[in-house]
């Protein structure tokens, strides 16, 4: 269920910043100013760029005023009357220009009106965006990691069913989330091009799509895998859509709820493989849970203005010191959790050793963020978290305690 599970995107309207978004352009906006027809050029950041990075330009905004000579007279002056004519001509030329600009602006505005007719060709793309397909893919990969780490022989059918079921559940949850958040998404830069905001799909269709993903997804998990995994999936959908999403506007506790949402998919992967909720599953969940905090807290540091205006209750706005403290705390927790892995027989002792460099690095960045509390340190921490998690999971997979080793160990003990 996992919508925001991976939290690579974390919570609904903030997150997923891809590397494509790292490049953005400035646009010049020309506005008419008084009857003097002076041009005011105002550089403005590209709205497609994430507000997180856009913030950089707030301090660099400039307004440059340039004077433009009024339109030249239509007739050469001949006499007094012709002077008056000239004045009239200038005035009418100005009016013509005014109207022409108005008409031009209006025709431009008219072109931006779109018929709300569902285009079947566009439907796959629309549904992909509605279900936050990239985030869903990441969520499915954390569930797969959970499945792969489970100490049982690999079952391909079970693996595929788990992946598909988790993916469908994630699509459903993401769609409902977008359904709830239309006016809020409209007001935040990185979410304002979502399908429901743009009217490309009706709310009814969005809800129907969500239902048609949730039902087969949970059914697949419950009947095709095991009831425990199905229950976890259903619970996660509920947690994300009915707890986390409304809570975003009520209390800062939403971040902790969101972290749980992100932690459940790997647990689901594990329970799908083993059929039970072992310590190993909880450990994996714990790692994902802790990871959410440096990831999200760092990201939210640059979105404070949008959150404040949109009415979102986030630590970065209301309790900035706590925000940084919690991020650092959980960076350090990752070291502790990595050390727990061999103790719980999930990995060999190689894992805490080889993961120490990256864990120490993210903790260092967490400490810098805690101490400096500025945009640059928050960005560094956020971008580090993007590669830290996949790396950590990969290292974990390579250090997985093999079944043969375990059997030998238990034979020796008995």
């Amino acid at each position: 269920m996992p919508c925001k599970f991976m939290h690579c995107c974390g919570v609904a309207n903030k997150r997923w910043i891809t590397f494509q978004h790292l490049n953005f352009l400035k646009r010049m906006y020309v506005t008419q100013y008084n009857k003097d027809l002076s041009q005011q050029a105002k550089p403005k950041s590209d709205p497609v760029a994430p507000p997180f990075l856009e913030k950089k330009h707030l301090g660099q905004e400039k307004t440059v005023l340039r004077e433009i000579r009024p339109a030249s007279p239509l007739h050469p002056p001949l006499s007094e009357t012709s002077n008056r004519n000239e004045f009239k001509a200038v005035k009418s030329a100005a009016i013509v220009e005014d109207l022409a600009t108005a008409v031009g602006a209006e025709s431009k505005e008219e072109k931006q009106w779109k018929e709300m007719k569902l285009q079947l060709d566009d439907l796959p793309g629309i549904l992909a965006r509605l279900s936050k397909i990239k985030l869903t893919a990441l969520v499915v990969s954390t569930a797969s990691a959970g499945f792969a780490m489970a100490p049982v022989p690999f079952d391909l059918t079970c693996f595929l069913l788990t992946s598909i079921g988790t993916g469908l559940a994630s699509c459903a949850a993401n769609s409902i989330n977008q359904f709830f958040e239309v006016p809020f998404d409209s007001n935040m830069n990185r979410t304002k091009n979502r399908p429901l905001v743009r009217g490309q799909i009706s709310p009814l269709l969005a809800v129907s799509f969500a239902a048609s993903c949730a039902v087969p997804g949970i059914a697949l998990l419950t009947l095709g895998v095991n009831p425990l995994t199905g229950a976890l999936g259903a619970f996660n959908i509920f947690l994300y859509t009915c707890c986390y999403t409304p809570m975003k506007r009520m209390s800062i506790v939403n971040t902790w709820v969101g972290a749980v949402v992100g932690a459940i998919p790997p647990i689901m992967g594990w329970t799908a493989a083993t059929g039970s909720l072992d310590a190993g599953a909880l450990l994996l969940g714990g790692i994902l849970y802790s990871w959410q905090f440096p990831h999200f807290n760092a990201l939210s540091w640059g979105l404070r203005e949008d959150y404040s205006r949109g009415g979102y209750c986030m630590m970065s706005v209301t309790h900035p010191a706590m925000c940084r403290r919690v991020a650092l705390r959980h960076c350090l927790a990752l070291i502790g959790l990595s050390t727990m892995a061999p103790i719980l027989d999930v990995t060999t002792w190689n894992f805490p050793l080889i993961s120490l460099p990256i864990n120490l690095y993210i903790s260092y960045l967490g400490f810098r963020f805690y101490r400096d509390a500025d945009r640059s340190s928050s960005r560094k921490l956020f971008f580090c978290s993007l590669w830290h998690l996949p790396m950590l999971l990969l290292l974990m997979l390579t250090c997985k305690k093999s079944l043969i080793e375990k059997e030998n160990k238990s034979e020796l003990l008995s």
Binding site: W113, E115, P183
Partner: protein, 192 residues
């Protein structure tokens, strides 16, 4: 003179143009063509042959996209109820977000001004550039704004969730009703 020019432009335009000054006129025009007129008096009129809703660019103040609703010829009472409720919700949403964003901007300006004054600085520096505070200085304002408007946001959220569910439920009912009707017509066709 100006009026003559305007008329000339209109005649020469060739397409349906409704000037923003004629908001009411555009509204009537839209209504004649089977679409609900824009309450804000914007200039857009959907083409007469269209039987769908039309959605516009984001509003400058509220960032919400206005919708011009299509009034079907054989609109049922349920369909009418849905359309009117959606129109009402749109107006309500527009009012909330426009006032929210405007007051945010205004209060932000006031905050920046007062902070700069306290520092002994002007709003614009020597080159005419607007002086801004950095994110850390603005943090106090963001926190303050959020806590001041908390109750207002709570009320808005509750109301929004209620309306969103109601609209979607009504949409479902209307869709079902239409399907039922179509099924009914098919049956009579087959019967004849």
């Amino acid at each position: 003179m100006a009026a003559a020019l305007r008329a000339g432009l209109r005649a020469g335009s060739g397409t349906r143009r409704c000037f923003s000054g004629a908001g009411g006129g555009a509204g009537l025009l839209a209504a004649e063509r089977g679409h609900e007129p824009e309450s804000r008096g914007s200039s857009f009129c959907p083409p007469a042959h269209s039987c769908n809703d039309w959605i516009g660019p984001p509003d400058r103040q509220s960032n919400l996209r206005p919708i011009v609703f299509h009034i079907p010829k054989n609109e049922s009472p349920l369909g009418r109820r849905l359309r009117e409720f959606r129109q009402e919700t749109q107006v309500w949403n527009q009012q909330f977000w426009a006032s929210q964003n405007v007051s945010f901007r205004k209060e932000k300006e006031e905050f920046v001004y007062s902070r700069l004054k306290a520092k002994g600085l002007e709003m614009k520096d020597e080159t005419g550039q607007k002086v801004t505070l950095n994110a850390e200085e603005m943090a106090d304002f963001y926190k303050d704004f959020l806590s001041k408007n908390f109750k207002k946001h709570m009320c808005y959220n509750r109301e929004w969730y209620k309306r969103n569910f109601t609209i979607t439920f009504l949409m479902g009912q209307v869709a079902f009703e239409r399907a039922w009707r179509r099924l009914g017509w098919k049956k009579t066709k087959v019967g004849n």
